[in-house]
Symmetry: C2
Subunit: 233 residues, 2 copies
């Protein structure tokens, strides 16, 4: 009796460009190649790996989409090692949600639950530096408002800083991802000046509650903040 090969052999698809991309990826993940490093041009990579240029290009496409490298054309150009890979994951998840016809309400509900869990952790773990960064963020946002500008990025950054104060990198990535998706979902109608002003006001109050160690008030304020964002559609 012949062994069913689907049981034992789905391990290798034997595609050369995958092999090449995996080799380069490992060099980056293991830190041999560091952010900012320039890889050899396509032709030279082909010589070193003993493969054609087309194969190299397909490997580079994979690495580029995965966020490991960026590519610049022309003199002095070529593939460069990038530092962050979160953005591309956000992009893929965004399309995954879109395909699954995920509603805005679902995203808001998920965002609220996660940020509440994060905030709860922040109360136990935040240090002086974290508080300081949050204060600077709010101060900058208020400054921009005073100048008549919308502190859109600062308003977004506040939530990232909160996640960082939880001292858990997973939360930073999750909050970044979900909030980006949330922002994209309602991007057709950007918030008005009054709305952003309301966000900053809430952020200031959350920060006060955090300093005053008033956990329940902070959680309630965060909920109001998120619902405020939801209604901005």
């Amino acid at each position: 009796m012949r062994v069913n090969k689907t049981l034992f052999s789905p391990v290798r698809s034997k595609r050369t460009f995958e092999d090449v991309s995996l080799q380069v990826r490992d060099l980056i993940v293991r830190g041999v190649l560091k952010p900012g490093d320039r890889l050899p041009p396509e032709a030279e990579l082909g010589e070193q790996f003993h493969v054609g240029r087309q194969t190299v290009r397909e490997a580079l496409r994979i690495l580029e989409l995965s966020g490991f490298i960026s590519i610049q054309k022309g003199f002095g150009g070529g593939p460069f090692v990038k530092d962050s890979t979160v953005g591309k994951a956000t992009d893929i998840l965004w399309h995954a949600f879109k395909m699954a016809k995920t509603s805005l309400a679902e995203v808001v509900a998920a965002r609220l639950l996660i940020e509440k869990a994060v905030l709860n952790d922040v109360f136990d773990r935040a240090g002086k530096e974290d508080i300081k960064k949050l204060q600077e963020n709010v101060a900058k946002a208020k400054d921009l408002i005073a100048k008549g500008q919308k502190p859109f990025d600062e308003s977004f950054e506040f939530h990232i800083l909160l996640a960082k104060a939880s001292k858990n990198n997973v939360f930073v990535v999750l909050v970044e991802t979900i909030n980006t998706i949330h922002r994209r979902l309602r991007s057709q109608k950007p918030p008005t000046f009054a709305m952003v002003k309301g966000f900053v006001k809430k952020h200031e109050q959350i920060l006060e509650a955090l300093i005053g160690k008033d956990r329940q008030r902070a959680l309630r304020l965060l909920e109001e903040d998120t619902r405020q964002i939801r209604n901005s559609r």
Copy 2:
């Protein structure tokens, strides 16, 4: 004064293969092309888009890595539209966490907080069908144990079913992502038979608490279950 081009022109979509992949991706996202559909072979796609085969191939690489299509070789093969795009995002996040040197403790903490939030929602939203699916899952796991096999996938699936019972697609994706990463982090030491048996026991108790509407007990059991998994390293 010359306008800084980084302010206005980061829109560059000058690359043909990006254009091609975007066009095909939109057809899939908008549902014109549905899961299981077979796309024309590379040569024909090249003719329709008026581009070369290499350009088509690079576009297909992007779509493949993004999880929108899979590619089969040989007669009757070609690019096929896939249904789920979550797996690739998980892969990218996994490497992102790895590069950021995220610890197992951080992943476990994040997983626990999210699953507790999800379980809390499940108490309000789960219907009869959800309970039934969870019961079937536990029954199958117990059955495998009785046969002396490790119900590894079932033990994983239980948490996905819980997320689905929350009726929020975002949670399904998040739980799937984090749990997969958690599993990979401890994959060097797979759980023993006794451990998996312990998981299933906890799952059964959580299900009982869910049916009995004992929210606090269910949350406590979930915490025990997750900590049990952590200790299996």
